[in-house]
Each structure stands twice: as structure tokens, then as C-alpha cells.
């Protein structure tokens, strides 16, 4: 009961904090747009891509995509390791 009370109070504090922040932000007019304006203006001549989003993903921030592909690869290798064929009736170790 006490645990629920603590949790409720902390959730209420988080909600108030986020709510005040949400009400103070302005929707539809981003303030710092220098980098994105540069991408929009020069993306076509520097990458040749009409789709500026793809230009950002694969060219301006290519290292980001490299890390993303690696994370996807590692996740799938983890799944494959978990369900691999057990050799000769080998089982997960019981402690």
C-alpha cells in the first residue's frame, strides 16, 4: 500500500513536470534550424538525392547508419544464438 502511494506520488510529480514542459513548448516553429536549412539547400548538389531524408541518413550521417546496421545485425545474431540447433541433445545449463 505504501509502495503504491510512493509510486503514485512520484508519477504525479513526473506528470506535472512533463506537462509544464509540454505546455511551454511551441508547436510548428522550431528555433534552431541552421543545420537542417543547410541540408535542405545543399543536399541536392552534394549528394544528388532528391529525398533529403535519405541524403541525411546515408550520406551526411552515414556513421549513424553504420552503427544502426550493426545493432540490427547483433540483435539478429543474438536471436539466432538463442534458438540454434543443440548438438546431440545438449540443453541449456541447469545451475
Amino acid at each position: 500500500m505504501k509502495k503504491m502511494l510512493v509510486m503514485g506520488v512520484s508519477l504525479f510529480i513526473i506528470a506535472a513536470f512533463f506537462g509544464v514542459m509540454a505546455l511551454n513548448l511551441t508547436f510548428g516553429s522550431p528555433t534552431m534550424t541552421d543545420m537542417d536549412d543547410y541540408f535542405l539547400r545543399h543536399g541536392q548538389e552534394q549528394t544528388g538525392s532528391n529525398n533529403e531524408c535519405t541524403a541525411v541518413v546515408f550520406d551526411f550521417r552515414g556513421f549513424d547508419t553504420l552503427g544502426e546496421s550493426t545493432v540490427l545485425f547483433c540483435g539478429i545474431i543474438g536471436v539466432a544464438l538463442m534458438f540454434r540447433k543443440m548438438q546431440g541433445g545438449e540443453e541449456y545449463e541447469d545451475e
Partner: protein, 155 residues
């Protein structure tokens, strides 16, 4: 568990269409909304449709795990290889060395709003293809591996 003949026939007919649509999204990633990840996910959806319509044992006959894992590895290695090839041209890693060169994917683009030309954008379509192949193999092989984990319970 195997679904009825109607579902299986529909899956057979729909799978090539989904494949071609996904490859279209991958190939036009630099012109229209889409790209490697989205197109690969669409193709993996087609694989999931076939897996649901047939059962696991029938599907593994032609949707092989080794081939799909190989596709995944090929995609990642190709992606890094396209980036590394820029070093051979004397540029930095991931430099777009093909844009404006006049060769494949290299004709100059008109600036501003235009109708779009497939043969542009340098290394971006190559990377799109590499990532598309990776996601195609990866997401399909995840579903297959999860089903192989459930195999003993008769799914």
C-alpha cells in the same frame, strides 16, 4: 498448422507482388518516400505471410535459414564495402564519390523541385540496396528462428 487452400493460393499470388513492391521501394529510395529499411521490412512482411499460410516444416524447404543469414551478412559487408571504396578514390570514409561523375548513378541532378531521375545520387542507391538486402534477410530469419523455437509445441 496449415491454413486453407484459399489462404495458401492468395499467399502464393501475393508473395511475388510484395517482393516487387519492396524492391521498388528500395530502388526508389532516393526519389520517393522509402529506402532500404522500409523496403526490406515490406519484403519481410511477404515472408511472414507465406510462413503464416503454410506451416514451418513446408516453408523451410525453400525459405532457407542459411541463405537468409548469408543475405544479412552480404548486406552488411556490402554496405561497409561501398563506404570503404571511397578510400580507393582518395577520399574519406563514406564519401559520396559517384555523384556527378557521369558513370552509374552519377548524372548531375537539376536543383530545386524536379520530376526525379533514377540514375542520380551516387552511392546512396547502392547503400540502399545493401541495407535492403540486410533487412530482408534479417527480419525473415528472426521469424524463422522464433518458429523453430516453438517447433516442439506443434506450431
Amino acid at each position: 498448422m496449415r491454413m486453407s487452400r484459399i489462404v495458401r493460393t492468395a499467399a502464393d499470388i501475393l508473395y511475388p507482388a510484395i517482393l516487387i513492391f519492396g524492391l521498388y521501394i528500395v530502388a526508389h529510395g532516393h526519389l520517393t518516400p522509402g529506402g532500404g529499411f522500409q523496403g526490406g521490412a515490406v519484403i519481410a512482411t511477404g515472408g511472414a505471410l507465406v510462413i503464416v499460410a503454410y506451416n514451418y516444416k513446408e516453408v523451410t524447404g525453400w525459405l532457407k535459414k542459411n541463405v537468409l543469414t548469408g543475405q544479412e551478412v552480404t548486406g552488411l559487408v556490402g554496405f561497409i564495402g561501398v563506404g570503404l571504396l571511397a578510400l580507393a578514390f582518395g577520399q574519406g570514409f563514406f564519401f559520396n564519390y559517384l555523384v556527378g561523375s557521369g558513370s552509374i548513378f552519377g548524372i548531375p541532378v537539376p536543383y530545386g523541385i524536379n520530376a526525379g531521375e533514377l540514375n542520380t545520387a551516387g552511392t546512396v542507391p547502392l547503400m540502399n540496396f545493401a541495407v535492403g538486402i540486410e533487412v530482408w534477410g534479417g527480419l525473415t530469419v528472426v521469424i524463422l528462428y522464433m518458429l523453430s523455437g516453438l517447433e516442439k509445441e506443434g506450431c
